[in-house]
Amino acid sequence: MVQKIDSQYKEILRQYMQRQSEQNLYDGQNFSRQLIAENTSPEEVISMHKAAMQEMYEDLPDVVWHSFDLLIEMMISYGLALQERESLLQRQEELRVEMDLAANVQETLLKTTTPSLEGLDIGLLSIPARKMNGDYVYFVSDQEGHAGIAVADVIGKGLPAALCMSMVKFGMDSLNNSRARPKDVLDVINRVVEKSIDDSMFVSMFYGSYNAGEATMTYGSAGHEPAILYRAKSETFSELNSKGLLLGVSPAAKYEEHTVHLEQGDLLIMMTDGVTEGRNEEGFIEREVIFELIHQMKDEPAQVIVRHVYDELVRMQNAELSDDFTLVIYKKV
């Protein structure tokens, strides 16, 4: 094997010495790639070169051979750096596999079922910017037309955010109450988060409790992107503001709650800041642009509207999401 490489190289060198043609250099470079693929180190290349030269031009003065010896010594560190690259590539591949698996686990762990509610059409899309999603949507519902929805966003992305989310989920699971009042839910989850996570980790959360019988939504917010109400009658958009600190800031935080009544064709739009803080080359994408995207599709099913907004925003951002994207639309039908 080594023998074969040596003689291949000698042939390349011999031809190059005769002609110095571009073809010879091309052959040399292709050969060097093959050497790298076989983990041949640069010091071995110099050594092989020296040996081939010695065979072909044995009468060259000693300084030439000495000079190659110094080059071999110089290349040892380069060879080590090359081996390090090999192991880094391998490690990167391992991490990629691990991340994929973790993303799967997270998905299974955090899965939630969109409820069926009389007179309500629900559209939902949550797309992570990287492998792991730091946004989270949680539903809880019963047979009598009560359903709670939590839309949360961990400040931070990737892995640490994903781990935090599992805590929010288990906090909600332990409440397990589809009629719980938003201010109480935010209160409980705030204490869970405050107690168990790192001081530098915060979660923003919108919580809405829907009553299908009365077509009302009672909502509260812990420092979360405000929900938007689209009124079909007036064709206007307005923000549903509600005061409250981010979850995890202070155990004493208090949360407000407010109620709106939905009329036919109204849209209740809940989201994370990944939807509103998209950027294109000219800066932030204006909120009005998003309103316009929704307005264009207002007569379509909720899932179609949600998808349309996502596709268009991604297009405007040159196919790059800088934050996790989560959008939920409740459409009163």
Binding site: E22, L25, Y26, Q29, R33, A37, L89, Q92
Partner: protein, 133 residues
């Protein structure tokens, strides 16, 4: 100001012709041996990509002058299938570990500027520039 010449890429021999053209221009512009070899390698990669994935296309070599700076631009254009996931082919280790050589990240490293424009089903246009220092 620019001044151009080009090589059609259809067979592996054309890769060598494109390299030769690039090396000649680089030498005339005053690039040293190492930079000549780098520019030629970038051409090699781009021409090989055309040969392997698009079947045929063209390598153009332009001489550039900009505020007294001289440079060389390689344009690799084809009407092939296009690249479906640009982020992926620009990732380290994606092409090299497959034994395909330096790949596009390599071309980007060998040159000073790099721009890729690709549409699925329509083709790819890559421009890579190196300035003389």
């Amino acid at each position: 100001m620019s001044n151009q010449s080009s090589v059609e890429i259809q067979t592996e021999w054309d890769i060598v012709a494109a390299r030769q053209l690039g090396r000649n221009v680089a030498k005339e512009l005053g690039f040293g041996t190492v930079d000549q070899a780098r520019i030629t390698t970038a051409i090699s990669e781009l021409a090989r990509n055309i040969y392997l994935y698009a079947g045929h296309g063209k390598i153009e070599i332009q001489r550039l002058t900009n505020n007294g700076m001289k440079g060389i631009m390689i344009i690799a254009a084809d009407n092939g299938p296009g690249i479906s996931d640009v982020r992926k082919v620009m990732e380290d280790g994606f092409s090299t570990s497959g034994g395909l050589g330096a790949g596009l990240p390599g071309v980007k490293r060998l040159m000073d500027e790099f721009k890729i424009d690709t549409t699925q089903g329509e083709g790819t246009d890559i421009r890579a520039t190196k300035w003389l220092r």
